[in-house]
């Protein structure tokens, strides 16, 4: 395999890993807990900026970029602090957006929050404005002393490790009674509340863990590509991840994984090979059109995705009634 092809493959693998972690985060919020987080990309951005700033260290007055910074912190810390920052931001946004609002309002408020975040980041020097942050050092690059190509492969390894860790986190939640309660809340919130579940707490847990995972994905991405600007996280970007979760099959982690590999990676890479016929924005426009059309086709023909969520049955006859009530089975099921 030629060197150029290896660069392409390693870059694609890292992107795939980033998208998979992000999709698991969004699936936990949207697929499992039923929160339409239209500000999802903001949490990825928060993670990216946190990691970038902590890896760079504080900006000096004569620096070419101005931002609020700290550190520099040694390697694994920027990613960990990014996760904390994403979780903290989710707590704040959750208190505003999730406490008293439901469904449509949540979606609209989160959309507005996404736009506020982009406007503030673009027009302030908190994170160097519209130019964004660049020359973020690659973690452990000097310590490892690898060639550029070997470092690419090492980073693929790091991304894989983070994917495994992220999977352990989401699987721990979705496979546990906690995840069952979240699904019950998604399917029939009054019934879940009547069964004694604190729906606000459940929603916040999903929102905060999902936000932290989004932040981790952003941190891994920015430490790889070394730059990040507000143009990379405008609110339509959130929709790519929504499309991925819907195509893969919302509500289960395997579906989110496959969706992440299919939508942001496969479809978008495929359109890259379109001839640049008409104008300079033709390919990027076609990518968005493909995302829209694919999402519509899936919602029409396979609304439950490539890997449909497993229908769970009550465990024992004695528990049957409560479980049925909680999973909303006695109510009209809408996800046919």
């Amino acid at each position: 395999v030629s060197t150029a092809a290896q660069y392409y493959i390693t870059t694609l693998l890292v992107y795939a890993g980033v998208d998979v972690v992000a999709c698991w985060g969004l699936n936990l919020q949207f697929g499992v807990a039923g929160i339409n987080n239209f500000a999802f990309i903001v949490f990825q951005a928060i993670g990216a900026y946190t990691a970038a700033v902590l890896a760079l260290g504080p900006s000096t007055p004569d620096n070419f970029q101005q931002y609020v910074g700290a550190g520099p912190l040694p390697f694994p810390l920027p990613i960990l602090v990014a996760a904390l920052a994403g979780g903290l931001a989710a707590v704040i946004v959750g208190l505003v957006g999730l406490l008293r609002l439901r469904t449509d309002y949540q979606a609209m408020v989160l959309l507005v929050i996404s736009l506020i975040a982009t406007t503030v980041a673009t027009n302030s020097t908190i994170v160097n404005g519209a130019a964004g942050i660049a020359v973020v050092p690659k973690p452990l690059f000097d310590t490892l002393g690898l060639s550029l190509l070997d470092y690419q492969w090492a980073y693929v390894g790091l991304t894989a490790v983070i994917c495994v860790l992220a999977y352990l986190v989401v699987h721990r939640i979705t496979g546990a009674p906690l995840g069952r309660a979240m699904r019950a809340m998604r399917d029939n919130e009054p019934a879940a509340a009547a069964a004694g579940k604190n729906v606000f707490r459940l929603r916040m847990i999903a929102f905060v863990v999902g936000g932290a995972l989004a932040a981790v994905s952003g941190a891994v991405l920015v430490l790889f590509v070394s730059a990040w600007s507000p143009a990379g996280w405008l609110y339509p970007e959130t929709f790519v991840y929504f499309a991925a979760v819907i195509v893969g099959g919302r509500g289960n982690n395997m579906g989110a994984l496959i969706g992440a590999l299919l939508v942001p990676v496969a479809f978008l890479e495929a359109t890259r090979f379109l001839p640049d016929l008409v104008n300079p924005t033709f390919i990027s426009s076609m990518q968005w059109i493909v995302i829209g059309v694919v999402t519509l086709l899936f919602l029409w023909f396979w609304p439950r995705g490539v890997v449909p969520e497993r229908r769970r049955r009550p465990l024992e006859p004695g528990n049957g009634r409560v479980m049925r009530l909680m999973s909303g089975r006695t109510q009209r099921r809408t996800d046919r």
Binding site: R100, V112, F282
Partner: protein, 295 residues
């Protein structure tokens, strides 16, 4: 002080455009219960329809009419050919939001793919400058504000005093009950889409005139202020949307004087979020409360 008065003048122009758009948005949401995030892109499409008419030699009024007709037809088609089939297939509320976003992406980027990132300009002239105290308006802006006032009054009269207005309010309140009372809810919904699309088109052409230039992304960039105005007043409430549009328009222009022009949208959106935290149903709570949109 005169800077603030001048800013209020700009705010009134913004509010007029926003009111046209937000009332159309909220009217359609109130009657059909579909959160149509493709609304901004219908606006863009209407502007291009108006642009086509001006290329053929039409003037400002013809451009506005073309925008209104284009918006109305596209809205009706979107509902008939895309949203209704998905609803009949049993797509739930969240799914419909995603369907409308898909439609939004397809419309916006079809224009961008076909035309490229080009700034267009409606060739309708600048209009003369009129001074009213510290405020300055162009005659075009005065026309837009006059049109907004007339449209708002017209909507008020239609909703309050006509049979179709009554039918719309009934359908918005309880579609099943309205149907069993003999109201042809299907036709009412069609009319709601047409009316909302016409307002959307008028707002789009007005926006293109006040901004001087437009691109394939102009409408979608304006969607969030529209949503902010609609939510601020209470979704589904035309009067709320008017009040929300005034608030968002004036607050954003006045804050541009005191804070910084870059943050003018942020100030208005922050008010929206504060209102929602304090009073989650919006200012006029009727529809959102009856739908259980906010606890």
């Amino acid at each position: 002080m005169s800077a603030v008065v001048a800013a209020i003048g700009f705010g009134l122009v913004t509010a007029a455009v926003l009111a046209l758009a937000a009332v159309g948005f909220t009217l359609q949401f109130g009657v059909t219960n579909i959160l149509n995030l493709a609304y901004g892109d219908v606006m863009t499409a209407s502007v291009f329809a108006a642009y086509g008419v001006t290329l053929l030699g039409g003037g400002l009024l013809l451009a506005l009419s073309a925008g209104a007709v284009g918006g109305a037809v596209l809205s009706l088609l979107l509902n008939r050919c895309l949203y209704m089939p998905f609803l009949r297939r049993g797509t739930e509320l969240f799914g419909m939001i995603i369907v409308t976003i898909s439609a939004a992406l397809i419309i916006q980027y079809a224009f961008l793919a076909a035309l490229g990132p080009i700034f267009f300009r409606l060739p309708v002239g600048e209009g003369n400058v009129v001074r009213l105290g510290a405020m300055t308006f162009t005659t075009n802006e005065l026309l837009i504000m006059g049109m907004a006032v007339v449209a708002m009054a017209g909507i008020h009269v239609v909703l309050r005093y006509t049979r179709i207005g009554k039918a719309m309010r009934a359908t918005a309140g309880d579609p099943a009950l309205a149907r069993s009372c003999g109201i042809p809810t299907g036709r009412v919904i069609d009319i709601a889409w047409l009316a909302s699309g016409a307002l959307c088109g008028l707002a789009g052409v007005s926006l293109a005139i006040t901004l001087a230039t437009f691109t394939a992304g102009t409408g979608s960039a304006f969607l969030v202020p529209i949503i902010a105005a609609a939510v601020l007043g209470g979704v589904g409430q035309p009067y709320g949307a008017m009040l929300g549009a005034l608030t968002v328009g004036i607050v954003s222009e006045v804050s541009a004087v005191y804070i910084s022009p870059q943050y003018k949208s942020v100030a208005a959106f922050t008010i929206l979020i504060l209102v929602l935290v304090i009073r989650p149903h919006g200012i006029f709570a009727e529809v959102s409360a009856s739908r259980g949109l906010a606890a």
